[in-house]
Protein backbone atom coordinates (compact mmCIF):
# COMPACT_ATOMS: atom_id res chain seq x y z
CA UNK A 1 0.00 0.00 0.00
CA UNK A 2 1.43 3.40 -0.95
CA UNK A 3 1.78 6.14 1.61
CA UNK A 4 -0.96 8.11 -0.12
CA UNK A 5 -3.48 5.30 -0.28
CA UNK A 6 -2.63 4.45 3.30
CA UNK A 7 -3.36 7.99 4.30
CA UNK A 8 -6.58 8.03 2.28
CA UNK A 9 -7.74 4.87 3.96
CA UNK A 10 -6.92 6.28 7.31
CA UNK A 11 -8.71 9.55 6.69
CA UNK A 12 -11.78 8.25 4.91
CA UNK A 13 -14.65 7.82 7.36
CA UNK A 14 -15.93 4.99 5.17
CA UNK A 15 -12.66 3.07 5.27
CA UNK A 16 -12.86 -0.45 6.62
CA UNK A 17 -9.99 -2.07 8.42
CA UNK A 18 -9.10 -5.56 7.15
CA UNK A 19 -9.73 -6.88 10.65
CA UNK A 20 -13.36 -5.87 10.28
CA UNK A 21 -13.62 -7.19 6.73
CA UNK A 22 -12.89 -10.76 7.81
CA UNK A 23 -15.89 -10.55 10.15
CA UNK A 24 -18.15 -9.41 7.33
CA UNK A 25 -17.39 -11.98 4.65
CA UNK A 26 -20.17 -14.42 5.53
CA UNK A 27 -22.87 -11.75 5.44
CA UNK A 28 -21.39 -10.70 2.09
CA UNK A 29 -21.21 -14.20 0.62
CA UNK A 30 -24.72 -14.93 1.90
CA UNK A 31 -26.06 -11.78 0.25
CA UNK A 32 -27.31 -10.57 3.61
CA UNK A 33 -25.45 -7.28 3.78
CA UNK A 34 -27.10 -3.84 3.63
CA UNK A 35 -26.29 -2.11 0.33
CA UNK A 36 -24.20 0.61 1.96
CA UNK A 37 -22.01 -1.89 3.80
CA UNK A 38 -21.68 -3.96 0.66
CA UNK A 39 -20.41 -0.95 -1.26
CA UNK A 40 -17.88 -0.17 1.48
CA UNK A 41 -16.70 -3.75 1.48
CA UNK A 42 -16.42 -3.94 -2.29
CA UNK A 43 -14.58 -0.64 -2.33
CA UNK A 44 -12.13 -2.07 0.19
CA UNK A 45 -11.70 -5.25 -1.84
CA UNK A 46 -10.75 -3.35 -4.99
CA UNK A 47 -7.75 -1.93 -3.15
CA UNK A 48 -6.81 -4.83 -0.86
CA UNK A 49 -5.41 -7.98 -2.39
CA UNK A 50 -5.07 -9.65 1.01
CA UNK A 51 -8.76 -9.36 1.79
CA UNK A 52 -9.54 -10.37 -1.79
CA UNK A 53 -7.48 -13.51 -1.22
CA UNK A 54 -9.17 -14.06 2.13
CA UNK A 55 -12.61 -13.84 0.53
CA UNK A 56 -11.52 -16.23 -2.23
CA UNK A 57 -10.28 -18.67 0.44
CA UNK A 58 -13.62 -18.53 2.22
CA UNK A 59 -15.46 -19.22 -1.03
CA UNK A 60 -13.06 -22.06 -1.75
CA UNK A 61 -13.61 -23.47 1.75
CA UNK A 62 -17.37 -23.51 1.15
CA UNK A 63 -16.93 -25.15 -2.25
CA UNK A 64 -14.57 -27.80 -0.90
CA UNK A 65 -16.86 -28.55 2.05
CA UNK A 66 -19.53 -29.36 -0.53
CA UNK A 67 -17.22 -31.96 -2.01
CA UNK A 68 -16.51 -33.84 1.19
CA UNK A 69 -17.37 -37.42 0.40
CA UNK A 70 -19.52 -39.48 2.78
CA UNK A 71 -17.56 -41.98 4.85
CA UNK A 72 -18.31 -45.60 4.12
CA UNK A 73 -20.55 -47.40 6.55
CA UNK A 74 -19.01 -50.11 8.65
CA UNK A 75 -20.01 -53.58 7.43
CA UNK A 76 -21.84 -54.12 10.76
CA UNK A 77 -23.88 -50.97 10.30
CA UNK A 78 -24.66 -51.88 6.71
CA UNK A 79 -25.94 -55.29 7.82
CA UNK A 80 -27.98 -53.81 10.65
CA UNK A 81 -29.63 -51.32 8.34
CA UNK A 82 -30.41 -53.95 5.74
CA UNK A 83 -32.03 -56.01 8.49
CA UNK A 84 -33.89 -52.95 9.70
CA UNK A 85 -35.25 -52.40 6.20
CA UNK A 86 -36.34 -56.01 5.85
CA UNK A 87 -38.02 -55.97 9.27
CA UNK A 88 -39.90 -52.84 8.26
CA UNK A 89 -41.05 -54.54 5.04
CA UNK A 90 -42.65 -57.29 7.05
CA UNK A 91 -44.35 -54.87 9.46
CA UNK A 92 -47.18 -54.62 6.95
Amino acid sequence: MSFLSGLMRFRSPAALPCQQVVEMVTDYVEGMMPAADRRRLEHHLTGCRHCTEYLAQMRETIRLAGRVTPEDLTPEMRTELTELYRRWRTEG
Binding site: P17, Q19, M58, G66, R67, V68, L81
Partner: protein, 198 residues
Protein backbone atom coordinates in the same frame (compact mmCIF):
# COMPACT_ATOMS: atom_id res chain seq x y z
CA UNK B 1 -26.73 -40.75 -9.39
CA UNK B 2 -30.46 -40.67 -8.68
CA UNK B 3 -31.99 -37.48 -7.35
CA UNK B 4 -33.69 -37.58 -3.97
CA UNK B 5 -37.06 -37.43 -5.73
CA UNK B 6 -36.21 -40.51 -7.79
CA UNK B 7 -34.92 -42.31 -4.70
CA UNK B 8 -38.11 -41.45 -2.88
CA UNK B 9 -40.25 -42.89 -5.67
CA UNK B 10 -38.15 -46.07 -5.76
CA UNK B 11 -38.31 -46.34 -1.98
CA UNK B 12 -42.08 -46.10 -2.07
CA UNK B 13 -42.10 -48.85 -4.68
CA UNK B 14 -40.35 -51.07 -2.13
CA UNK B 15 -36.94 -50.97 -3.80
CA UNK B 16 -34.37 -52.10 -1.19
CA UNK B 17 -31.49 -50.72 -3.25
CA UNK B 18 -33.06 -47.26 -3.03
CA UNK B 19 -32.84 -47.51 0.75
CA UNK B 20 -29.21 -48.61 0.52
CA UNK B 21 -28.44 -45.67 -1.79
CA UNK B 22 -30.17 -43.23 0.52
CA UNK B 23 -28.28 -44.59 3.51
CA UNK B 24 -24.99 -44.30 1.62
CA UNK B 25 -25.76 -40.72 0.75
CA UNK B 26 -26.77 -39.39 4.17
CA UNK B 27 -25.68 -41.81 6.86
CA UNK B 28 -22.27 -40.33 7.65
CA UNK B 29 -23.60 -36.77 7.89
CA UNK B 30 -26.47 -38.00 10.05
CA UNK B 31 -24.06 -39.74 12.37
CA UNK B 32 -21.86 -36.67 12.59
CA UNK B 33 -24.91 -34.52 13.28
CA UNK B 34 -26.27 -36.91 15.91
CA UNK B 35 -22.89 -36.91 17.65
CA UNK B 36 -23.17 -33.23 18.34
CA UNK B 37 -26.30 -33.88 20.42
CA UNK B 38 -25.41 -37.09 22.21
CA UNK B 39 -22.37 -38.14 24.13
CA UNK B 40 -21.24 -41.34 22.50
CA UNK B 41 -20.82 -42.99 19.14
CA UNK B 42 -23.03 -45.87 20.24
CA UNK B 43 -25.92 -43.60 21.20
CA UNK B 44 -25.48 -41.62 17.98
CA UNK B 45 -25.65 -44.83 15.95
CA UNK B 46 -28.85 -45.77 17.75
CA UNK B 47 -30.35 -42.37 17.04
CA UNK B 48 -29.48 -42.72 13.35
CA UNK B 49 -30.98 -46.21 13.17
CA UNK B 50 -34.15 -44.99 14.89
CA UNK B 51 -34.28 -42.19 12.38
CA UNK B 52 -34.08 -44.56 9.41
CA UNK B 53 -36.89 -46.62 10.86
CA UNK B 54 -38.97 -43.47 11.41
CA UNK B 55 -38.24 -42.43 7.82
CA UNK B 56 -39.42 -45.79 6.49
CA UNK B 57 -42.50 -45.75 8.67
CA UNK B 58 -43.27 -42.16 7.71
CA UNK B 59 -42.87 -42.63 3.96
CA UNK B 60 -46.61 -42.97 3.44
CA UNK B 61 -47.31 -39.75 5.30
CA UNK B 62 -44.45 -37.70 3.86
CA UNK B 63 -46.13 -35.01 1.78
CA UNK B 64 -43.00 -33.59 0.16
CA UNK B 65 -43.62 -30.10 1.44
CA UNK B 66 -39.94 -30.12 2.27
CA UNK B 67 -37.16 -31.92 0.45
CA UNK B 68 -36.46 -35.53 1.38
CA UNK B 69 -33.13 -34.68 3.01
CA UNK B 70 -34.62 -31.80 5.01
CA UNK B 71 -37.28 -34.16 6.27
CA UNK B 72 -34.73 -36.85 7.14
CA UNK B 73 -32.45 -34.39 8.95
CA UNK B 74 -35.39 -32.89 10.83
CA UNK B 75 -36.40 -36.32 12.12
CA UNK B 76 -32.80 -36.99 13.09
CA UNK B 77 -32.35 -33.76 15.03
CA UNK B 78 -35.66 -34.23 16.84
CA UNK B 79 -34.70 -37.77 17.80
CA UNK B 80 -31.21 -36.75 18.86
CA UNK B 81 -32.63 -33.98 21.01
CA UNK B 82 -35.20 -36.21 22.63
CA UNK B 83 -32.61 -38.77 23.66
CA UNK B 84 -32.09 -36.17 26.31
CA UNK B 85 -28.37 -36.37 26.79
CA UNK B 86 -27.82 -32.80 25.79
CA UNK B 87 -31.35 -31.50 25.64
CA UNK B 88 -30.61 -29.04 28.41
CA UNK B 89 -28.37 -27.23 25.98
CA UNK B 90 -28.84 -23.52 26.30
CA UNK B 91 -29.38 -20.93 23.61
CA UNK B 92 -26.74 -21.43 20.94
CA UNK B 93 -24.51 -18.48 21.54
CA UNK B 94 -21.48 -18.55 19.30
CA UNK B 95 -18.09 -18.59 20.97
CA UNK B 96 -16.74 -15.10 21.40
CA UNK B 97 -13.67 -13.54 19.88
CA UNK B 98 -12.48 -12.68 16.38
CA UNK B 99 -12.46 -15.31 13.62
CA UNK B 100 -8.92 -14.36 12.62
CA UNK B 101 -6.38 -13.99 15.40
CA UNK B 102 -5.86 -10.35 16.33
CA UNK B 103 -2.08 -10.83 16.18
CA UNK B 104 -2.34 -11.03 12.41
CA UNK B 105 -3.38 -7.39 12.15
CA UNK B 106 -1.45 -4.20 12.80
CA UNK B 107 -2.62 -1.43 15.10
CA UNK B 108 -4.63 0.17 12.27
CA UNK B 109 -6.48 -3.08 11.60
CA UNK B 110 -4.66 -3.82 8.33
CA UNK B 111 -3.12 -7.24 7.72
CA UNK B 112 0.29 -7.66 9.34
CA UNK B 113 0.45 -11.40 8.58
CA UNK B 114 -1.72 -11.60 5.45
CA UNK B 115 -3.09 -14.80 3.97
CA UNK B 116 -0.77 -16.49 1.48
CA UNK B 117 -2.20 -17.28 -1.90
CA UNK B 118 -3.78 -20.72 -2.18
CA UNK B 119 -7.42 -20.17 -3.13
CA UNK B 120 -8.15 -22.22 -6.28
CA UNK B 121 -4.97 -24.25 -5.68
CA UNK B 122 -6.14 -26.44 -2.83
CA UNK B 123 -7.28 -29.30 -5.02
CA UNK B 124 -4.06 -29.28 -7.02
CA UNK B 125 -1.91 -29.28 -3.93
CA UNK B 126 -3.78 -31.78 -1.74
CA UNK B 127 -5.22 -35.01 -3.09
CA UNK B 128 -8.97 -35.52 -2.83
CA UNK B 129 -8.90 -38.21 -0.15
CA UNK B 130 -6.61 -36.20 2.11
CA UNK B 131 -8.65 -33.06 1.52
CA UNK B 132 -11.87 -34.79 2.48
CA UNK B 133 -10.22 -36.18 5.62
CA UNK B 134 -8.82 -32.78 6.49
CA UNK B 135 -12.23 -31.12 6.19
CA UNK B 136 -14.00 -33.90 8.09
CA UNK B 137 -11.43 -33.50 10.87
CA UNK B 138 -12.04 -29.75 10.76
CA UNK B 139 -15.79 -30.28 11.02
CA UNK B 140 -15.38 -32.64 13.94
CA UNK B 141 -13.28 -30.03 15.69
CA UNK B 142 -16.00 -27.38 15.50
CA UNK B 143 -18.21 -26.61 18.50
CA UNK B 144 -21.52 -28.52 18.18
CA UNK B 145 -23.78 -25.84 16.83
CA UNK B 146 -21.25 -24.58 14.31
CA UNK B 147 -20.66 -28.13 13.14
CA UNK B 148 -24.38 -28.72 12.69
CA UNK B 149 -24.85 -25.58 10.62
CA UNK B 150 -21.76 -26.00 8.42
CA UNK B 151 -22.53 -29.67 7.87
CA UNK B 152 -26.09 -29.00 6.76
CA UNK B 153 -25.36 -25.86 4.75
CA UNK B 154 -22.02 -26.50 3.13
CA UNK B 155 -21.55 -30.27 3.14
CA UNK B 156 -25.17 -31.26 2.51
CA UNK B 157 -26.16 -28.15 0.63
CA UNK B 158 -29.37 -27.26 2.47
CA UNK B 159 -30.59 -23.67 2.16
CA UNK B 160 -30.36 -21.35 5.14
CA UNK B 161 -34.16 -21.55 5.56
CA UNK B 162 -33.98 -25.36 5.62
CA UNK B 163 -31.17 -25.32 8.18
CA UNK B 164 -33.11 -22.93 10.41
CA UNK B 165 -36.08 -25.26 10.22
CA UNK B 166 -34.10 -28.44 10.91
CA UNK B 167 -32.22 -26.96 13.86
CA UNK B 168 -34.97 -24.61 15.10
CA UNK B 169 -32.72 -21.58 15.10
CA UNK B 170 -33.16 -18.04 13.80
CA UNK B 171 -31.72 -16.85 10.51
CA UNK B 172 -29.36 -14.46 12.28
CA UNK B 173 -28.14 -17.17 14.61
CA UNK B 174 -27.63 -19.49 11.68
CA UNK B 175 -25.46 -16.92 9.96
CA UNK B 176 -23.33 -16.22 13.04
CA UNK B 177 -22.70 -19.94 13.54
CA UNK B 178 -21.99 -20.40 9.85
CA UNK B 179 -19.53 -17.54 9.89
CA UNK B 180 -17.56 -18.91 12.80
CA UNK B 181 -17.63 -22.47 11.54
CA UNK B 182 -16.60 -21.62 7.99
CA UNK B 183 -13.83 -19.32 9.24
CA UNK B 184 -12.38 -22.17 11.29
CA UNK B 185 -12.55 -24.57 8.37
CA UNK B 186 -10.66 -22.01 6.30
CA UNK B 187 -8.00 -21.99 8.99
CA UNK B 188 -7.74 -25.77 8.79
CA UNK B 189 -7.01 -25.46 5.08
CA UNK B 190 -4.63 -22.58 5.70
CA UNK B 191 -2.61 -24.56 8.20
CA UNK B 192 -2.15 -27.21 5.52
CA UNK B 193 -1.64 -24.95 2.52
CA UNK B 194 0.39 -22.20 4.08
CA UNK B 195 -0.13 -18.81 5.61
CA UNK B 196 -0.75 -17.51 9.05
CA UNK B 197 1.52 -17.81 12.04
CA UNK B 198 3.57 -21.00 12.19
Amino acid sequence: MDTDATLLARLRDGDEQAFTDLVGRYHSSMLRLALSFVSSQAVAEEVVQDTWLAVLRGLGRFEERSSLRTWVFTILVNRARSTGVREARTVPVADAGPVVDASRFGPNGAWAVPPEHWAEEAENRIDAVKLSGLLRGGLDGLPGRQREVVLLRDVEGLSSAEVCKVLSISEVNQRVLLHRGRSKLRQVLESELGGGPR
